[in-house]
């Protein structure tokens, strides 16, 4: 089955979404991330969406849900690299990514998560 790879960097998990995900793939990623937070005892999750052209309500919900699960498991989620047009569209759509922090790029995202420790 098609899957998005999840990399571990110390206590962080990094996901780089490079394809336009269909809904099942997004669901699988959400489940995989939750599993890995537990297995790897991750303290932070970085989701790099710089290659994503759009975030619609389904992907937005997947990101919020992941962040909510991560929070329960004591990990913090940071979304990095959101394109300006995507941010503008999300606001207009009325989709607030609740519980999700954002950073400009991976380095800043890592710095943000490091602050927490």
């Amino acid at each position: 089955m098609e899957r998005i790879p999840i990399l571990r960097m110390g206590s962080l998990l990094l996901v780089t979404i490079q394809v336009d995900m269909h809904d099942r793939l997004a669901m699988t990623l959400q489940e995989d991330l939750t599993d890995r937070i537990v297995k790897d005892r991750a303290k932070g999750v970085l989701i790099d969406i710089s290659a994503l052209d759009i975030v619609d309500s389904f992907i937005g919900r997947m990101i919020s849900n992941t962040a909510a699960m991560a929070k329960i498991l004591d990990a913090k989620t940071v979304v990095v690299g959101m394109q300006p047009a995507v941010a503008i569209t999300l606001v207009e759509l009325g989709l607030a990514l609740e519980g999700v922090s954002t950073a400009l790029n991976v380095e800043r995202g890592i710095a943000m998560l490091a602050q927490r420790e």
Binding site: D20, M21, H22, D23, R24, L25, D53, I54, V55, D56, S57, F58, G60, R61, Q83, P84, A85, V86, I88, T89, E92, L93, G94, L95
Partner: protein
């Protein structure tokens, strides 16, 4: 509402992968017509929401993509049709946050906000057609 002028492209919508294909097609068409990146993104996002509704509630259907020319404006029209159950209360369905299927309830209302024109036609037991348009000065 008048229909699209030049020959419309028809995309079937019966699977998750079809939704991804439609997003790609809408991006290509809008880019080719010279729409800016923000307008492209808005329209693709609206298309994605409506395509998912066609799939999830309409039990599949299709999207017709057509070009419009009302000089000095040009535009793109997307028409989503299904022969699903229809929508009983359209005002309710268009309310931000209303969902009958465990979603966020932002799809229909979002598609309306993200497009320049929005038109919903539905008949109980017969199906639903949603039309959206985006314009630009050529």
């Amino acid at each position: 509402m008048k229909t699209a002028e030049s020959g419309a492209v028809v995309m079937p919508l019966y699977s998750d992968e079809d939704v991804v294909r439609l997003r790609k097609l809408v991006r290509e068409e809008l880019a080719a017509l010279g729409f800016g990146i923000v307008d492209q993104t808005k329209m693709i996002t609206a298309a994605s929401e409506l395509a998912r509704n066609t799939l999830k509630y309409g039990k599949g259907g299709e999207c017709h993509l057509g070009k419009l020319n009302e000089s000095p404006k040009i535009g793109v029209e997307l028409v989503f049709t299904d022969d699903g159950p229809g929508i009983e209360d359209t005002a309710l369905a268009l309310t931000d946050g209303y969902t009958s299927g465990g979603g966020l309830g932002l799809g229909l209302s979002g598609a309306k906000k993200l497009s320049d024109e929005f038109h919903l036609e539905t008949r109980l037991g017969e199906g639903t057609t949603v039309t959206i348009r985006k314009w630009k000065f050529s």
